[in-house]
Each structure stands twice: as structure tokens, then as C-alpha cells.
């Protein structure tokens, strides 16, 4: 086999393993499931208190050491390597002070920002439609930055 063919095979393999993982995490069904889990009183809306509670509950689910921070180590402990890498990339975006871990404050602030942005009709509660629409738009925006930027382009 030629060098080029080998390279093509390797690329194909790498692509085949990476794309489904990304796909799996970004299906709108994930948005829906997170919404349903957060809608504690099952009235079809996630209000501010429910949303905040879900964020706190999620924080505790990941902060195994209970030191008030979610560390890379705690994410890596999840036995799902493909998605762990994606999540680590995503979580870097919330790490405002770049200390390599997420504090309670960083997490809550980012998620409350999300709440305000996704609440398009400003009624202080999220509907399923608002969440799905906002997530879909944000995925598209992020996808544009996901590709390696061409040489010389602004990063």
C-alpha cells in the first residue's frame, strides 16, 4: 500500500470514530432530555428555580471529591473516553480564570447566562421549544469555529 493510501485509511478511521461521537452528544434529543430532567414539576416549563437546581445537582454529580471544583480528573473518571474528550473541550469554555477546573461560581454564572439567552420571550422560564431552538442555533455557531481555522485567519 502506498503512503498516501495508508494516510487516507488513517484519516478515514479517525473521522469514523470522531464524527459519531460528536453526533451522539449533539442530537436534539439530548437537549430534550436535559430539559425533561430539569422540569421537576412536569408543567412543561423550566423556571429559574428548577433550572438552578438542575445546575447544582449536576455540579454535585461531577464533583466527586466535594472540594467545590470540577476538575479534569473528575471528568476523566467517566468511563466513556470519546465523549470525555468532547466534554473537556466544551468545559474549557466555562473556565473563565483558566485554572483548569470549574468552580461552582463559574458553572452557575455560565448557566444563568444560558438561561437568560435562551429565554427569548423573557417570561423567566424556558419552554422546550426555546431550549431546542437555542441549542440548535448555538451548535451551528460553534460548528463554524470547530473547524481548524485556515492559515492566517484570526483565531
Amino acid at each position: 500500500m502506498t503512503k498516501q493510501k495508508l494516510m487516507a485509511c488513517a484519516l478515514a478511521l479517525a473521522g469514523a470514530s470522531a464524527v459519531p461521537a460528536i453526533h451522539a452528544v449533539t442530537q436534539p434529543s439530548v437537549s430534550r432530555q436535559i430539559f425533561l430532567a430539569a422540569d421537576l414539576n412536569k408543567d412543561g416549563y423550566v423556571d429559574l428555580d428548577e433550572f438552578h437546581k438542575d445546575v447544582v445537582r449536576s455540579f454535585h454529580a461531577l464533583d466527586h471529591s466535594r472540594d467545590g471544583y470540577i476538575s479534569v480528573d473528575e471528568i476523566r473518571a467517566i468511563p466513556d473516553k470519546a465523549r470525555v474528550e468532547l466534554l473537556l473541550k466544551a468545559m474549557k469554555l466555562s473556565d473563565q480564570n483558566r485554572d483548569g477546573r470549574l468552580s461552582f461560581k463559574e458553572v452557575v454564572e455560565r448557566r444563568m447566562g444560558y438561561f437568560d439567552a435562551a429565554d427569548t420571550d423573557k417570561d423567566e422560564r424556558l419552554s422546550m421549544a426555546e431550549v431546542v431552538a437555542y441549542d440548535a442555533a448555538a451548535v451551528k455557531r460553534f460548528a463554524a469555529t470547530w473547524q481548524p481555522a485556515p492559515k492566517g485567519a484570526k483565531q
Binding site: V25, P28, R32, Q33, L36, A90, A143
Partner: protein, 297 residues
């Protein structure tokens, strides 16, 4: 008014009430009021969450006029919000887990990071699946929980079992491998599980000596035997073995985050010496949140 005086005023408006509770003092109520300015209350170190029980005056809105930061251990109110708050501290749960903690952790990570930032680069991310199922289908409709993964992306050798019924399914009866540190699995030594077989960690293969079934009481059944603390020992380092199920507390476990704890004394299922070598015995030890006490299923 200087800052010290402000604080003192705020402290004066705090009324402490410790509620008697069956599980232990896990909840307490406090009153906190802001008279236009911010007032703060220092939260106990093991606070899990805070709830507004009742509003006394003003407009109390979470994240707007009241909030808390577990890192800074601070509960705050401002803008005239006054209310009674419930402080909930970490407490042990009981019995079997109601869901896979792997799936829950992933959902939590996605919720925290914001599912939206997990980008797609393909056109595969059509919105077909939600258009078909509709937004407002009742959660009780099983067809509504579309498993997010396509199983063929996760061959059995990957050791990952996609959740079948949503991220937070209810009800016990989970069965399968329990992943420990170092990518190894909770395992009963040897192929046969008999009375006295020792628990170890070992490469994951999912055979019968690695398949655990949670009962609603919190027993971990492996090949018709119960995971048991040998002799009901209460010591750190007590051996964990297979034993015929007898309903003893030394055969009952509960889940606390990713820890598996004994209902007998709250000690944690632990890989001895923190060694991540296959064949290392699994024991019980005081919980310390270390890597060698984390389990995923």
C-alpha cells in the same frame, strides 16, 4: 454605614433553627433579610444546596436578588429580598441507584457545559428526531425518550452501555458491570463465584463474575451470591467477599455520587492501597473521595 456595621446588621437578622431529622441534622432553616443592601450568611462547609422556603418581603428571585456560592460558602440577598431559606447539607442516600451514574454524569457534564457548545461538524445533525417526536409529548410516553446514541457506535468491547430509557430513568434492577479506577472492573476472583470468593478489580470482560445486580434493598448480587463484608467487620480494610444472601446490613450498599457505601457503617468500597493493578483486592475503607473509591455503572 461602614461595611462591618452592615455585616453586623445582617447577622442580627439571621435566625438559626436546626431541624431534627431522621437521617441526621441535614437541613436547617435560616432567615436572611436585606434592607435594600446586600446581606450575607456563611454556609456550612458541606452545604449541598439552598432553597427559598418563604418570602418575607420584597421580590426574591434566584440569581437576581438572592443566590449562593458553594465555593465561597456564601448565601446572599439584596434589593430588599427577605426570606426564610433552607440549607441542605450532604447526606447519605440509601439503597440501590435509580440510574446509571455514567449516563447521569455525562448528562450533568452536558448540562453544565451547555449541550450547545458540543459542536457538530457534519450535516448529520438534522433535527429529524425531534420533529418526529414532537416537543410536548408526555415524559411517560416511552417513545419520547429517544436513546441519544446509536448502539452500533459503541461495540461491546468499548465497555460502554448506552442508556436505554433516557438519562434519569427511575426504578432499580440495574444489572451489569461496575467500572472502577484504571479502566478496570469490580470482579470476583476466578471464574466461579462461590461462598468466600474475594472481590478484586480486573480487566472488564462482563462475564458472570463481573455482572452485578442491584436489588431494591441495596444488595449487590453476583451469580446468586451477595457482595458481603467478611464477618460483618467494621474495620478499615475489611475484606469484601461473596456470601449467600442473608439480609444482613453487611450485605447492603447504597450509592453516594460515584461512591458505593456500606449500609452497615457508611464505609466505602475501595481498591486496596489505591493500586490500579488487575487482581488487587477490593475492601471497605473510610470514604475519602479518592480515585480508588469511584465506581461507575
Amino acid at each position: 454605614m461602614n461595611r462591618t456595621l452592615q455585616r453586623a446588621t445582617a447577622m442580627l437578622s439571621i435566625l438559626l433553627l436546626v431541624l431534627p431529622n431522621a437521617v441526621g441534622a441535614s437541613e436547617r432553616l435560616i432567615d436572611l433579610a436585606s434592607s435594600g443592601r446586600e446581606a450575607k450568611y456563611t454556609l456550612p462547609a458541606d452545604t449541598r444546596e439552598v432553597e427559598l422556603v418563604s418570602q418575607r418581603s420584597g421580590q426574591c428571585r434566584l440569581g437576581r436578588t438572592w443566590g449562593y456560592d458553594l465555593g465561597a460558602r456564601e448565601l446572599w440577598v439584596n434589593g430588599g429580598c427577605a426570606g426564610q431559606f433552607k440549607i441542605i447539607t450532604h447526606e447519605a442516600g440509601t439503597g440501590a441507584p435509580d440510574s446509571s451514574n455514567t449516563a447521569a454524569a455525562l448528562a450533568a457534564a452536558a448540562a453544565i457545559a451547555g449541550v450547545a457548545v458540543l459542536a457538530s461538524r457534519g450535516r448529520h445533525d438534522s433535527d429529524r428526531s425531534y420533529e418526529q417526536s414532537g416537543y410536548y409529548a408526555p415524559p411517560s410516553n416511552p417513545g419520547y425518550y429517544v436513546p441519544p446514541e446509536n448502539p452500533r457506535y459503541y461495540p461491546p468491547s468499548s465497555g460502554y452501555h448506552p442508556p436505554q430509557a433516557g438519562y434519569y430513568p427511575s426504578g432499580g434492577g440495574r444489572q451489569g458491570t461496575i467500572h472502577g479506577p484504571g479502566g478496570l472492573c469490580l470482579d470476583m476472583r476466578g471464574d466461579r463465584v462461590v461462598q468466600g470468593t474475594e472481590a478484586i478489580i480486573y480487566n472488564c470482560h462482563g462475564k458472570r463474575n463481573q455482572r452485578f445486580n442491584w436489588t431494591p434493598r441495596g444488595e449487590l448480587i453476583v451469580n446468586n451470591m451477595c457482595l458481603d463484608i467478611a464477618g460483618g467487620s467494621r474495620a478499615n480494610g475489611a475484606r469484601v467477599i461473596a456470601w449467600p444472601c442473608n439480609g444482613g446490613r453487611n450485605q447492603q450498599w447504597y450509592v453516594n455520587g460515584s461512591q458505593i457505601q456500606s449500609q452497615q457503617n457508611g464505609k466505602c468500597l475501595d481498591v486496596a492501597g489505591g493500586s490500579l493493578q488487575g487482581g488487587t483486592p477490593v475492601i471497605v475503607y473510610d470514604c475519602h473521595g479518592g480515585q480508588n473509591q469511584r465506581w461507575f455503572w
